[in-house]
Amino acid sequence: MLKLSNVEVVYDKVFLAIRGVSLQVNEGGMVALLGSNGAGKSTTLKSISGLLAPERGEVTRGSIEFLGENILPYGAPKRVGMGLVHVMEGRRIFGHLTPDDNLLAAYRNGGSRARLNQLRDMVYDYFPRLTQFQKTKAGYLSGGEQQMLAIGRALMTEPKLIMLDEPSLGLSPRLVQEIFGIIRKINQENNMSVLLVEQNAAAALEFVDHAYLIENGNVVMSGEAKVLKENPDVQEFYLGGADRVDYHNVKHYRRRKRWLA
């Protein structure tokens, strides 16, 4: 349902952030995008959701298709209307609004009140913890709660594909597990596709069917999660090897990555 071919993004008219990224997400699929810092993962998601413009970024080449339609000419709100939603890195909830108003703000214009309540109940069902904070400004919620709210807010737009940028960042092990669990539940119950950017590769590969590896703005490897997990490079650089890492004896210099698939 989502297809990127050869997408190139330039920031500030001069800085090439990704070059020739191609990837695909199928209906109901769960796909992960892995890669080190600054590889261009967030940039890829922003190019899909149309959020590059405010950062002076621009898709200079390639095409992005969603549900068979080329969405590049569309602005971000229109893409959300088509069922494509992006939960941004760093949560970015509306800090001065209550959680309830956060959810309300994301509900589409002109939708019925009944549907609104239904969606809201669904979100509170997934994240019962949010119900306790009816009166507090969302900006004062803890990191994990904000993350839940951000996902819940995205769900209010009734998406067909949800893109999550590092949802586990800064969360406690229990919450990571909880949130991944909920994402899986959402994926299964609503047949919603998921495109997930994660640093926590071990958790992500457990959980998706398919994954892409990005380095330096290029896709260097892609395949079934199961297959990737067995790859020696992935093992060494993303999963910390087969055994527990001995942090006290980490090598200072390492061999180059080769990405032999």
């Binding site: 080190s36 803890s142 092990p173 919450l175 990571v176 597990q177 993303y238 942090y247 980490v250």
Partner: protein, 272 residues
Amino acid sequence: MSLTSTLTSTAPNNEVVLACHNISRWFGGLHAVKHVTMEIRKGETLGLVGPNGSGKTTTVNAITGFFPPQEGEILYMGRPIQKMRPHEIAQQGIARTFQNVALFKGMSVLDNILLGRHNFMKPSVLRAMLYWWSAQKEEVSNRYKVEEIIDLLQLEDVRDEMVDVVPLGTQKRVELARALVAEPQFLILDEPMAGMNQEEKEYMVRFILDAKEALGLTILLIEHHMDVVTAICDRLVVLNNGEKIKEGQPLEAISDPTVVAAYIGRVDNAAA
């Protein structure tokens, strides 16, 4: 550099570097930190863990003077510091990094790190005016220390980049460098490894261990990556809802049932 050769003992001894006695902090009606007491001894790495919103960052903010505790006492090297302002506390030799990277966006990596030398420089307009006769010497002499740390943390190639364009992982390293050039005795790290993949995590751990070894640091570490915490901390303090619920050896602490229920979730999460 010859940093690694000036080895200091990393074995904990009995000298208490920092002691919090019964500190509390409210935000409006919210009791974010409840009567927390803890001690950190010289050369030790203490892990501070707990669920999100349990008050870890607030505790650190209390120690560093941003949100002074409304109750209780904080002693650094035996002296009370809870009434001092943040910069005065920094001048005592306490350095920290922030959970959400707090670098100065308008500056290059080098300038950011140079700022860490603030306490060793005498900034003044008059000196700036007389640059060639006065400030230049200071700039250059402090530069040597900065270069040492840049070397230690392997930041050579991004030295002249603007700090907001380098990747997040590197930014965290720059922030660590900025804290280290201040030559602190006590270092607080607030989630230095959030948002890093395995490889970067390993590097970061290496840097922290190297720095600790080279500079003889005492470290307070907040981190959600249990594998790291168990590997490098000497002791753990576990907070939940602002209260200290457990203190002890890392592996023992995180397998405590209350800790597992509140924080870890499943036992095998502890490994990840």
